[in-house]
């Protein structure tokens, strides 16, 4: 049952990856010049360039090149990055790991914050709590991510309490294991905070809306008529019932966090996929661009798969079908 669900989603994800790669290839084709354009590579060995051109078959027509790229990609060879002078797969492995580290911390934190704030606001009967919630979320939603990230940077610079960029300090290698972890955590605070602050208000709004909707349902009245304590009502009955639309948001939250992290990573010089993608675009590093886009798509597909599995786990109706 669950196996078939995963298989179906995986197949759909594969199709999506295929589509993204075709699209990426076509877009890259529209960019004038090619990555091994001798004019852009002065000082390099022309023979080596010719070798690379032949290896990636740049002299052949587009469909052939695409098929060749696919056959290389499925073997794990995503091509060669000229701007980094390294194989694309090698760069992306490190970059994706860094992005995953950042989003892997930011997504759960944003959800935790959103759940607590949203449930609190939905269960307020007075006006002040709800007004405060609406005001705070509106304010955060209205501030562009860029301003938010820059503002956090400014605070960090002024206070001098936190490192303002990068993944680790210069003397990282000399530190002990515990100090290494602390150093990494300190570097994570700012970008993670920027991501959480950009994502959490949006999620909190959804949480509040769906919890409020369930609270207004007659079956909640029936539970209250059985004399249920409020906290138990919220956590045991209302939250699971509000969970379906929220679980489908998990996929969305991963997606929007990936695009937000692009920006935050660049502003905070976090060595993730974002800066790599930007560098690659500026340098017309086609293989790296397509590779980075593919990895982002892969993360997105994985996020949605997690959402589907969550719904499956949360809803007894889907399980019994």
């Amino acid at each position: 049952m669950i196996g078939r669900l995963v298989l179906r989603r995986a197949a759909a994800g594969l199709l999506l990856l295929l589509g993204v790669s075709v699209f990426g290839f076509l877009l890259a084709e529209l960019v004038p010049g090619d990555p091994f354009d001798p004019g852009r590579l002065e000082g390099r060995d022309p023979a080596a360039i010719e070798l690379l051109r032949a290896r990636y078959g740049l002299d052949r027509p587009l469909p052939q090149r695409y098929l060749r790229w696919v056959s290389l990609t499925v073997r794990g060879d995503l091509g060669y990055s000229l701007s980094f002078d390294r194989p694309v797969a090698e760069i992306l492995r490190v970059r994706a790991r860094n992005t995953l580290l950042l989003t892997g911390i930011a997504v759960p934190m944003a959800w935790l914050l959103a759940l607590v704030a949203g449930i609190w606001a939905a269960s307020r009967r007075g006006r002040w709590g709800r007004t405060a919630f609406a005001g705070a979320t509106s304010l955060l939603l209205a501030v562009p991510d860029l301003v938010l990230a820059l503002g956090l940077l400014l605070v960090a610079v002024q206070s001098g309490l936190l490192p303002t960029g990068g993944l680790r300090s210069l003397d990282f290698e000399a530190l002990g294991p515990l100090e290494k972890a602390r150093d990494l955590a300190a570097h994570l605070v700012l970008p993670a905070a920027a991501l959480v602050l950009s994502l959490a208000p949006r999620l909190a709004r959804y949480v509040q809306a769906s919890v409020a909707e369930v609270l207004a349902a007659p079956f909640v009245d029936a539970l209250r008529a059985a004399g249920i304590p409020r906290r138990r009502l919220l956590l045991r009955y209302v939250l699971p019932a509000a969970g379906n639309p929220l679980a489908s948001l998990v996929g969305f939250s991963v997606a929007s966090l990936l695009s937000a992290s692009l920006l935050v990573e660049i502003v905070m010089s976090w060595p993730g996929l974002g800066p790599a993608l930007l560098d690659a675009i500026l340098a017309r590093d086609v293989h790296l661009v397509i590779g980075a886009v593919l990895v982002s798509t892969l993360l997105l597909v994985a996020g949605n798969l997690i959402a589907d599995l969550l719904i499956y786990a949360l809803d007894p109706r889907i399980r019994s079908e």
């Binding site: 006006r127 349902a217 007659p218 079956f219 009245d221 029936a222 539970l223 209250r224 008529a225 059985a226 004399g227 249920i228 304590p229 138990r232 009955y237 699971p240 019932a241 809803d315 007894p316 109706r317 019994s320």
Partner: protein, 272 residues
């Protein structure tokens, strides 16, 4: 009424008032009185009907009596003890004696729960018995309302409207309440199902000495089921009495309007 007048009511509302306010920037811009100084008594084994136009405050009164909404003023007395200001544990216990059956049985049932779980849930909330006992009692209550055990594992969406309403009744009865508030509980059902459920409730009322509050638009049903009728208009009780007399000779002009607007009344007396 006069026959019961000497005995203390099981559940009574005295001087109940409730208004809904809409505020903008802290100022009240809109205020509507849903209930204004309402008195109502419910007696064990008897049915009181509440009729009135839409928005007259019927449901609000029902919800206040079931403790689902707090009145702005007035008292709700269960066996003479006020519940509005009572401490929470006492209110919770009282909650279980007063159960509500809603118009929308589909919405009133948690769509995620199977039938037997829906009925067993109030027992779990009330921390009564072990898991197996609760299930047994739930199945027994389902049988009582005419739902065979074979339906136990179905979810609300797999049941018909009438079956859902039966399930909602079973859930309300499983805590052995003393008072049932039926808020338009029959409006979505076709006549034969309605008749079945009405008969079922009458039977249960006699067996369990339930006090029932019947909120309904359906005058023929009210005439058939109720011992007393109260007419609500603009949050006030404008008239009350035995259904036959009240429908035949309404004293208040609004009651007369309501009665005149109900063509079914002529067959009402013979409908049962």
């Amino acid at each position: 009424m006069s026959a019961e007048g000497d005995r203390p009511p099981l559940l009574a509302a005295t001087g109940l008032s409730k208004s809904y306010r809409q505020r903008r920037w802290g100022r009240v811009v809109f205020r509507v009185a849903a209930l204004a100084d309402v008195d109502l008594e419910l007696h064990a084994g008897r049915t009181t009907a509440l009729v009135g136009a839409s928005g007259s405050g019927k449901s609000t009164l029902g919800r206040c009596l079931a403790l689902l909404e707090a009145p702005d003023a007035g008292r709700v007395l269960l066996r003479g003890r006020d519940l509005v200001g009572a401490p929470r544990p006492q209110r919770r216990a009282a909650h279980r004696e007063i159960q509500l059956i809603f118009q929308d049985a589909a919405g009133a049932l948690n769509p995620r729960f199977t039938a037997v779980r829906a009925v067993a849930e109030p027992l779990e909330i009330a921390a009564r018995g072990g898991r197996r006992e609760r299930r047994e009692l739930a199945l027994e209550t389902m049988r009582l309302v005419g739902l065979p055990a074979a339906w136990a594992e179905r979810r609300p969406l797999e049941l018909s409207g009438g079956q859902r309403q039966r399930l909602a009744i079973a859930r309300a009865l499983v805590l052995e309440p003393r008072v049932l508030v039926l808020d338009e509980a029959f409006s979505g059902l076709d006549l034969s199902v309605q008749a079945q459920i009405v008969n079922l409730l009458q039977e249960l009322q006699q067996r369990l000495r339930l006090a029932m509050l019947l909120i309904s638009h359906d005058f023929s049903l009210v005439g058939y089921l109720a011992d007393e009728v109260a007419v609500l208009d603009g949050g006030r009780v404008i008239e009350r009495g035995a259904p036959a007399a009240l429908f035949a000779r309404p004293r208040h002009p609004r009651t007369a309007q309501l009665v005149a607007a109900t063509p079914l009344l002529t067959v009402g007396e013979g409908a049962g």
